[in-house]
């Protein structure tokens, strides 16, 4: 057995130099202390975790410690961490990073996360793990700091990109790695070309992906683990939906992926309490809504854009401002609008102007006053967001807006403002991801997204580790509208609100029919009659039921095996 032995000779040279010059010589007490220190820092075993000894203020949960151990001892430091939302993937990554740093195996680290999480990652690594992580703000940081946190969008751009490729990183951590599922994107290419000695990919939702996406993610981490592209797709159908169909493939993937589920962790989670609040339109609001619905059976322009009618209907359930904004856009963007078209829009605008109140906003105000605590309001529309902020201010309630498009610093600032000064945070859809707000336990869904995963992400912002109270979720739905249908069918049927995300992942995977949102648009947009709509809805419902049953059987089987 030949292993190269490196002998550090710098000490010798200096030593001989000092003998020649008769000193200077060190202090005996310090000499002994130095030996004592080194004996304390020596790690005599390959196995085991040292990190917990260094982190007295952190009490990692058993599944987090187990994950860290697995990654280092059995996965050789390359893994996809795919715990369900809120189980503390950041803690797991921090533990692994700390362990490698203590053992001296890792020095230079690159951490790529969504822009909105950059500050939070640096803060947590510094405060919880005593790791001097630095948020990248100046280009010299890449070279001068050992542990750098940045957004992938910044990192892939010049001049950063070239500087990063010149660094010799020991560990690369990528948060929200499911965004790298497409191997044709610039981000994917950027990460693929990074040298990955040790590498952690963090994601909450890999299972629902197509097989192709799994292949891309695993190949990023460990090229060849699933074979080359040609052999892989010879063997597995490119469009195959579920990993579960193939035991062998599942096993292979599990060699590089760890997925802890809430149910397995044995932690007591705070409850979710869901309240649906049905709201009546005022007569003016009803008139506007009905006028929009009538468009479906009318005029030529509508047929070509069922989607617009749907959007308008949903907006009418949110605020007159959002309807107006869309109408204005439709008018401006249409080339050579016909007279009929213009008239139709104009008549709708008149109806918008007739609406003087917002029933949902009034209900919101009442609810916020009753709760008398911090509240997050989610809406899909920016116009509604702006209106609500104005409306609440009229009634002496302070609020801050939050949008996905905000720059990183602004997001941090808004979160801070909300935590310390404002009672209400009003977020649009894009704001749902990448911000942790567990100091708040009330959510108002002012309008509902049609993609259940989006809804889960909203709730996931506050229902996570660190949340000490039960989470209250208030769903607003206007009676006798498309909104009420959605709520009844989708959410009450899947019992989505009570469920935790892992179940939903599974259900959606089993539903082998693509995007739920597309189905809903088809049902509500293309149906010619009430009857057709009902039948289509029943079909969808029974498919969801089927998926749920399949999932139940699966978990029985799993329980039987273990």
């Amino acid at each position: 057995m030949t292993v190269q032995i490196e002998f550090d000779s710098s000490w010798q040279d200096e030593f001989l130099h000092r003998i020649e010059n008769d000193g200077p010589w060190g202090n005996w007490e310090l000499f002994k202390l130095a030996v004592g220190v080194e004996k304390n820092l020596i790690i005599p075993e390959f196995e085991g975790l040292q990190a917990p000894k260094h982190l007295p203020n952190l009490t990692p949960l058993p599944h987090q410690l187990e994950t860290a151990k697995q990654v280092i001892e059995n996965m050789n430091g390359k893994a996809i961490l795919a715990d369900e939302v809120g189980l503390g993937k950041t803690i797991e990554a921090g533990l692994i990073l700390k362990e490698y740093m203590i053992r001296g195996l890792v020095k230079k680290v690159l951490i790529l996360v969504p822009a909105s999480l950059v500050t939070q990652w640096s803060y947590e690594l510094n405060s919880k793990f005593f790791i001097p992580a630095v948020s990248q703000r100046k280009s010299y940081v890449w070279e001068q700091c050992d542990v750098v946190v940045s957004s992938i969008d910044t990192a892939k751009r010049d001049p950063h990109r070239d500087i990063i490729y010149k660094q010799d990183y020991d560990l690369i951590i990528i948060d929200e790695a499911h965004k790298l599922k497409n191997n044709k994107t610039k981000n994917y290419e950027f990460v693929q070309n990074l040298k990955k000695k040790f590498c952690l990919l963090l994601t909450a939702t890999p299972i629902q992906n197509r097989i192709e996406e799994i292949f891309n993610l695993v190949s990023l981490l460990k090229p060849g683990h699933l074979g080359s592209e040609t052999t892989f797709f010879d063997k597995y159908k490119r469009d195959a939906r579920s990993l579960n169909d193939n035991e062998h493939l599942k096993e292979l993937v599990n060699k590089v992926m760890i997925r802890n589920r809430r149910a397995d962790t044995g932690i007591e989670w705070t409850k979710r309490q869901v309240e649906t609040i049905a709201i009546e339109f005022t007569p003016e609001e009803r008139k506007l809504y009905d006028a929009i619905t009538d468009l479906k059976s009318e005029g030529d322009w509508v047929q070509t854009s069922a989607f617009s009618v749907m959007t308008l209907q949903r907006e009418a359930c949110s605020s007159r401002e959002s309807v107006f904004y869309t109408l204005k856009n439709m008018l401006q963007k249409k080339e050579n609008p016909t007279k009929v078209y213009e008239d139709q829009i104009q008549s709708l605008i008149t109806k918008v102007e007739a609406v003087q109140t917002n029933s949902k906003a009034e209900k919101t105000l009442e609810l916020i006053q009753k709760i008398n605590d911090k509240v997050i309001i989610f809406t899909e529309y920016r116009a509604t967001q702006m209106y609500l902020q104005w409306y609440l201010k009229q009634h002496g309630i302070s609020s801050v807006p939050f949008r996905g498009g905000f720059k990183r610093g602004k997001k941090d600032w808004m979160r801070e403002l909300f935590q310390k000064h404002a009672q209400v945070l009003i977020a649009t859809e894009a704001g749902g991801e990448g911000i942790n707000l567990q100091f708040c336990n009330h959510i108002i869904n002012f309008d509902l997204p049609w993609n259940p995963m989006k809804l889960e992400q909203r709730i996931g912002r506050i229902h996570r580790l660190g949340q000490e109270k039960d989470v209250m979720i208030y769903n607003f739905a206007i009676k006798n509208t498309v909104e009420e249908h959605i709520l009844k069918l989708l959410y009450e049927k899947i019992e989505l609100f009570e469920k935790v995300i892992g179940d939903l992942d599974d259900i959606l995977t089993k539903l082998d029919f693509g995007n739920i949102e597309d189905h809903l648009i088809d049902i509500f947009g293309q149906s010619c009659s009430e009857g057709e709509m009902r039948i289509k809805m029943e079909n969808l419902t029974s498919m969801i039921d089927l998926a749920k049953d399949m999932q139940k059987e699966d978990s029985h089987a799993a329980a039987g095996n273990s």
Binding site: D8, W25, G26, A34, V35, E38, I43, K53, H54, L105
Partner: protein, 263 residues
């Protein structure tokens, strides 16, 4: 290290560096830094530079460390120190830096009898076995520079010897027959011999893991004909990840002049 060990370590460290411990209470201690240690620990070169230029009066800092938050009085404000805290590791670093090289004489009790002292070369080292994992071994070796006798656990042997930085009266040192430089290489060879005799299945296993991943990698890129940059990068990454290496690094060492009875 337990909290109490840390507390005692800090006291010994500051005393050895001639800093006054102004308070030493339950779970905390306050220390007046010396100028040297302020420069070493406080990271304020501009302040010291400014003082040197203006000739002002030096005002080194006073620090309070809380070594046990449970028993320290509540009104005490200071830095909390635990085994993982960066400050403690900074202090560890300076300990090693300030005492890398040493020369001491045995303070024997032979009175006015002429006493010969034998030269010993001492090296305390850390041996690390490293692949994608790592383990360390501590070794303290002493080499007598006249007859070439080699002793392990030399540091423990020194624990029982009275030592002093000045040669005691009525003592004389014997000139080494083995030059320090060749002494160092004797110890190096000795350590290498020990290492070679050790079990290195860890390295074999690492090479197996490496080979396996390399095979997968080759397979992944076999469809791609032309020179591929990311293939080369990945290959290098695997080398960095798995290649077994052994590092011998120095902690400290020096010359010890000891009586015949000492060893």
């Amino acid at each position: 290290m337990q909290q109490l060990e840390i507390h005692n370590f800090l006291i010994r460290y500051f005393q050895a560096n001639e800093c006054a411990i102004t308070e030493n209470g339950p779970g905390y201690l306050t220390v007046q830094l010396s100028i040297e240690l302020d420069k070493e620990l406080m990271n304020r070169p501009f302040y010291w530079h400014y003082l040197e230029k203006t000739g002002g009066i030096a005002n080194p800092m006073k620090l309070t460390f809380i070594t046990n938050t449970q028993i320290a009085p509540e009104k005490i404000k200071g830095e909390t120190i635990h085994f993982g805290s960066p400050r403690l590791h900074q202090i560890f670093q300076t300990t090693k830096k300030l005492a890398s090289y040493i020369r001491l004489y045995e303070n024997h009790l032979n009175g006015n009898q002429q006493t010969p002292l034998m030269p010993w070369l001492c090296m305390n080292v850390k041996i690390s076995y490293q692949c994608d994992r790592k383990r360390d071994i501590y070794k303290s070796i002493g080499l007598q520079l006249i007859n070439g006798q080699m002793v392990e656990d030399f540091d423990e042997l020194l624990q029982n010897v009275q030592l002093t930085p000045k040669i005691p009266d009525y003592s004389f040192t014997l000139s080494p027959l083995v030059k320090p430089k060749s002494g160092l290489s004797r110890i190096e060879n000795y350590l290498k011999a020990i290492i070679e005799g050790d079990d290195h299945s860890w390295a074999e296993d690492a090479r197996k893991r490496w080979e396996q991943d390399l095979k997968l990698l080759d397979h992944f890129y076999e469809d791609i004909e032309e020179e591929n940059e990311s293939y080369e990068t990945e290959k290098k990454a695997l080398r960095d990840q798995y290649e077994p290496k052994i590092n011998i690094s120095f902690i400290n060492g020096g010359l010890f002049y000891l009586t015949d009875q000492a060893v």
